[in-house]
Symmetry: C3
Subunit: 352 residues, 3 copies
Amino acid sequence: MLSMKNEHQKSISLGQLAQLMEGQADQQAELLLTGIAPISQAQHGQITFLSGAKNYQHHLESLKNCRAAAVIAPLEAPELNLPTIRVKNPYYGLVRALEFFYPVERPKYGIHPTAFVSENATVADDVVIEANAVIEDGAEVGSGSWIGAQALVGRKARVGVQTRIFPGVRILDGCEVGSRCIIHANAVLGSDGFGFTPHAGGQLKVPQIGNVVVEDDVEIGACVTVDRGTMGPTVIGCGTKIDNMVHIAHNVVIGKNCTIVAQVGISGSTIIEDNVTLAGQVGTVGHVRIGHDTVVAARGVVTTDVEPGSFVSGFPIKPHQEERRILAALRKLPELVKKVRDLEKKSSAKEE
Amino acid sequence: MLSMKNEHQKSISLGQLAQLMEGQADQQAELLLTGIAPISQAQHGQITFLSGAKNYQHHLESLKNCRAAAVIAPLEAPELNLPTIRVKNPYYGLVRALEFFYPVERPKYGIHPTAFVSENATVADDVVIEANAVIEDGAEVGSGSWIGAQALVGRKARVGVQTRIFPGVRILDGCEVGSRCIIHANAVLGSDGFGFTPHAGGQLKVPQIGNVVVEDDVEIGACVTVDRGTMGPTVIGCGTKIDNMVHIAHNVVIGKNCTIVAQVGISGSTIIEDNVTLAGQVGTVGHVRIGHDTVVAARGVVTTDVEPGSFVSGFPIKPHQEERRILAALRKLPELVKKVRDLEKKSSAKEE
Amino acid sequence: MLSMKNEHQKSISLGQLAQLMEGQADQQAELLLTGIAPISQAQHGQITFLSGAKNYQHHLESLKNCRAAAVIAPLEAPELNLPTIRVKNPYYGLVRALEFFYPVERPKYGIHPTAFVSENATVADDVVIEANAVIEDGAEVGSGSWIGAQALVGRKARVGVQTRIFPGVRILDGCEVGSRCIIHANAVLGSDGFGFTPHAGGQLKVPQIGNVVVEDDVEIGACVTVDRGTMGPTVIGCGTKIDNMVHIAHNVVIGKNCTIVAQVGISGSTIIEDNVTLAGQVGTVGHVRIGHDTVVAARGVVTTDVEPGSFVSGFPIKPHQEERRILAALRKLPELVKKVRDLEKKSSAKEE
């Protein structure tokens, strides 16, 4: 597996790695580690990790036959058969270890000779702009940002600092992406909103003159489409993470630190407050408000405003527990039909 | 908001603007207007608009504190506190005002030096072909059309006149797009239909040798995929508007003036007659016919032919009113299960 | 219809064509054929075909007025009014005829002058690399492969032999595509998996250092996204066919000869064994295993492990027959509510 090789041959002592992840090594602080891998794949010299997930007991068991040299484990884990770094959140430990052993490698050239950068664009000195990327008139690309091959930063579009734009992304005219964002391949920011008005027997296009504003620390998945506002912006708030193939219509406003899972569709002018989770394949009608800290379970369809802190599911959405009761009752429905028929027969028999 | 500035500094008198939208200014025909914006955002010198939408009363109220210089309103609106242009359809007024204040700006160059245009392509004199676009052998691009950056017009593909192809669109070999169309970023016209036949323990590909024909005045959203026919074309009829991320399979035929909302999936050989609306995330099985002037509500799954003029929803689709009754009854289902249990108990108690 | 012309003017005798498709011509083996078309469109000199599909009787009838010179028919077809090639699987006959009359034409150039091929890439002599394609450092492209316009083969990515990559595809760094694969336009292989862990009030990205491995003979649709594994690969097994706009999350493992229809979403670490069919718009939760030879009907949501050989549907999935009974019973639900109300009235009336 080519991309899992630690090609930099980086190594670190158990003690130093523990420090990186703000954890505690229980022994052998000098032990040299050369990589990280899951329990089932870890090799001699690598560290593995034990997460607090639902298969915890199973993982604990597997550890006994693991070839790893050490393990990252949650504080509450029992005594283990390997040198252990204990951390509050083992995933945090995993992140720091992955960052250490497999750092992202930026190409060494600045602007690739085949890229087109308009002389009217403003591009920081330390950017990377890959092959066949296009940076249009009036565009801005901030310090440390990295524009992938065949990506587009449109006219007067802006990309902040330390942002990575993957190949084939289209940041269309006038759209703005903040700092430390990651936009995955073939995503589109700033397609026209879907707006028409009946006219002369057909449908007349309502010009879409707004833009898209992606705030800082946002991640947007591959083949996501975010439409520009009709007037004013469509907004993706700071820290929000969006999975692949999500559709976000015009004038949607998404708050901070939301999680939008794959294939969700959000209709026009919907307002999503902070810390909302929309699970996979959720849909919303337009012009609704989803209160902060709400979770909409997979496949739910949001048809009305949702109170903050809700946990809802189904079509139309209901409290999740109610939806579960309905789904459970549904399995009894065919039998129920029969039972009622029987009751009716008995009832009318008595009447006779 | 960069893209909402009226950068052309265009201005127009209230009377002239009323003429553009075939409406009537009630006073101050000489009043000079410099832009248009929603009620809550309009600034001094701008015109705003009052739509006939469901929040009409709320908008009427907001108008009282609006800083706009004038307002576009429906004929039936009451006397307002601002100079007013009355029009039958305020959205029509909005369109004309947006078109005036924010005209689409075409790049001044014709063919960008980094574009590749085959010497065997036929390209009108007045086209725009943006950076890194590719126009292949035998392709045609009609007068006034505009091919976006990094877009492809494949071999023997055709684009009509006054059509706009956004960045990253792939019009694959032999596919045809009519006149005055708009194809949004990263859409694909002419991917192979999904056709296989069992052979030798695996699946043998059925060559897909048809094409895609997009008629005039069609708009197609970002990341839409339209498969070419197995034999013969997949057709999108005149005036049809398609939102983002819609999947249209091989040999589908869509009629005129249809509206296909985001994330719809249309299976192979489905026929959709004129003026049909498929709301968001609808699906269809293959080989069905959806009669003209039908509406399929959001998330519906079309499993059979649909009579013209239907309003259907659900999976499988039913008359919309029936589906609503079912969804309402579903909320009573867990209780119903209990009630039937009680009735059974009573009934058997009596029998004893 | 431009793309249906037999531009090569190829012709073949009925007898030879029968041989190509391992079938039997019943008469006039010398008859010269110039193309193939559906019954309703076939012209003089062309062969048509009669499939075993559900409209078989209708097709049989249509054959009487068909202008074709001959017909491909299943072994069990009755005596027909045209010279006939009988084959076990008429679709197999169709495939061989389509391949003969409409062979795929490869561009004659090898590497297009506008393509960028890194000097550190390894590219076979007989490849086609179209306009503005990019082949990065350390990439490999095998013999006979064909990289479409504006497509990307990333750093250390690998493409096997005889594989066709359509325009705009992104094979991101370190990902691998086997031999005889077809990847359709604007698909993305190797976008980051969607993995975060809570940290400091926000969400910290878990680096995704795995890759995507697409085995041999796989077809992947337009705008499909396949995420790279967090650690280790996301795998698409030999012979699997994937329709447009399917989302495949990190560390999913799909077996051999599966069929994944359009707009399916597969959550992380799901294991799909061999010969599984997921129909359109199906979803799965993460970490489930779907046994071999299973069919999940359209729109189903897989929420638990599925036994091999199952046929399931609904949300959550159930045996397909059970789901059908539930859907049938649902239409009686509003009436059922009323019936139970009536029974209750009668019951309490008796009690009084």
